[in-house]
């Protein structure tokens, strides 16, 4: 990998601008996405900025199952993003369709319409989970993966539940 390519990869990892798109979620995941962007979590530390225009964004954060109404709009917004672009599916519905799977008006998860780079399950996905997913997606761009940050929570010990 040449020097210029290295610099470009570094810049891409350090400056992900996100756009948020709701394909028909119940708004719980949207609230969590907004919460992740508040000063409490301070995503600007990683260079994340919320952009209004899809032309400016690198990462599309999509929440909700793809409904038949929103499928064409989702595709159009995806096409408006400039390459290289990444899609993050936030929430169980975005990953698989969730409880809405099989509904007459629901196509399924986001990957039924557009390619997805990262899946963040959860109903609703917590802000910490969303940040973790985006950081993992970005560190997957680096060919030499840096040491991932140590897990914040202690691993939960298995407790034998009496039958």
């Amino acid at each position: 990998m040449g020097l210029i390519q290295k610099i470009v990869t570094w810049a891409r990892i350090k400056s992900p601008w996100v756009i948020h798109f709701n394909t028909g979620a119940c708004n719980a995941c949207d609230i969590e996405v907004i919460a992740a962007l508040t000063p409490r979590f301070d995503l600007e530390r990683f260079g994340v900025q919320l952009k209004g225009s899809p032309r400016h964004a690198d990462v599309m954060v999509v929440s909700g199952p793809v409904t038949r109404q929103s499928r064409d709009r989702l595709k159009r917004v995806y096409d408006q993003l400039a390459e290289p672009k990444f899609v993050v599916a936030v929430g169980t519905c975005a990953c698989s369709g969730g409880v809405f799977q099989g509904c007459y008006n629901v196509e399924g998860g986001i990957d039924m319409a557009i390619p997805v780079n990262a899946y963040i399950p959860g109903c609703a996905a917590r802000p910490e989970a969303i940040i973790d997913g985006v950081v993992k997606l970005l560190s997957s761009l680096d060919p030499k993966p840096a040491a991932l940050p140590a897990p914040v929570a202690e691993p939960v010990e298995k407790v034998d539940v009496p039958a």
């Binding site: 570094w10 891409r12 350090k14 409490r40 209004g52 225009s53 032309r55």
Partner: protein, 311 residues
């Protein structure tokens, strides 16, 4: 030597570094005032490189020539305005009688390029943003001109270097221009499209204003032009209203100059933190009903003082 002046100092390289640095200072102060950590120091540079390496999309209906030429125009106008401004000595790189007016007009060009860029992107959001930035131009431009020309009138010269030399000789006279300094600071926010006057790029209403259709390296150049405009307009305000420490040796002069620019950027960041966006008609009302009379009163005051000083 001319090539060195254009490319390295005080030309492109110095302005790019200063622009990116003061964008970082602005964002960092904003973050600290919101009790968060804020971006690392290389953030504006990373944004710039990333945008340069991104795909550049030109809408099918857009005017290709104007769409690609406008970011370059904005960058060129701001950089060339910088050559006439005295930085840390009473002398500027180039100077001629009347360059204060030329610098003001060169600093108007970026706003016009925003308008043309938004208009010829043929997108609804960018057209609304373009028209708003032009409406805003008519509101802030007159008070800004009057405020900036008040110290020039007192110094009896239209050249920035002459103004700096006059206030170095008569430092107390600069205190007379405090109202004009306040007017210039507020209208500068309108010129730079910063909160509370970021009406043309209100991202909650019209996506990204005139820049909605811009992507990749065109957007990178526009962002760079805006960053550099902060430094150039800040230098102009500093040269006009805070002409102190110009007689110091150059190494102290540079430090004083950078501190003065940091003061202007800090004022912008503080106002960005504590204010919300105004509506366009509130902004026009405010500029015409309050700022313009204050600037006019300043002009009258300076005329009277000048009459007493020169028998």
């Amino acid at each position: 030597m001319a090539l060195f002046n254009i490319i390295v100092f005080p030309g492109i390289l110095f302005l790019v570094i200063a622009g990116l640095w003061f964008e970082f200072v602005d964002r960092r102060m904003y973050a600290r005032m919101q009790h968060r950590q804020g971006p690392p120091w290389f953030q504006p540079l990373a944004d710039f490189i990333k945008l340069l390496a991104k795909e550049t999309i030109i809408p099918e209906d857009a005017n290709r020539f104007l769409f690609t030429a406008m970011p370059v125009m904005a960058l060129t106008a701001t950089i060339s305005a910088f050559f006439y401004i005295p930085l840390w000595s009473p002398r500027a790189l180039f100077s001629f009688p009347g360059d204060a007016v030329v610098v003001m007009y060169l600093l108007t060009i970026p706003t016009l390029t925003f308008f043309l860029a938004g208009w010829y992107s043929t997108s609804l959001y960018s057209m609304i943003g373009a028209v708003r930035s032009l409406t805003q131009l008519f509101a802030y431009e007159i008070p800004l001109f009057m405020a900036v020309l008040a110290p020039a009138m007192l110094a009896n010269t239209w050249s920035l270097a002459g103004i700096a030399a006059y206030y170095t000789a008569h430092p107390l006279m600069a205190l007379l221009n405090v109202p004009a300094f306040c007017v210039a600071m507020v209208t500068l926010l309108g010129k730079l499209e910063k909160v509370p006057f970021d009406i043309p790029e209100a991202e909650t209403e019209i996506v990204a204003g005139a820049f909605t259709e811009y992507s990749g390296r065109h957007l990178a150049l526009f962002r760079l032009a805006v960053d550099i405009e902060v430094v150039v307009a800040g230098s102009l305000i500093v040269a006009m209203f805070l002409p102190f420490g110009l007689a110091l040796p150059w190494y102290l002069g540079i430090i004083v100059y950078l501190l003065k620019i940091t003061l202007v950027v800090a004022l912008i960041a503080i106002l960005r933190t504590i204010m919300a966006r105004l509506r366009i008609e509130q902004m026009v009302n405010f500029c015409w009903k309050i700022l313009a009379p204050v600037a006019l009163a300043q002009l009258l005051l300076n005329l009277v003082v000048k009459g007493f000083l020169k028998p």
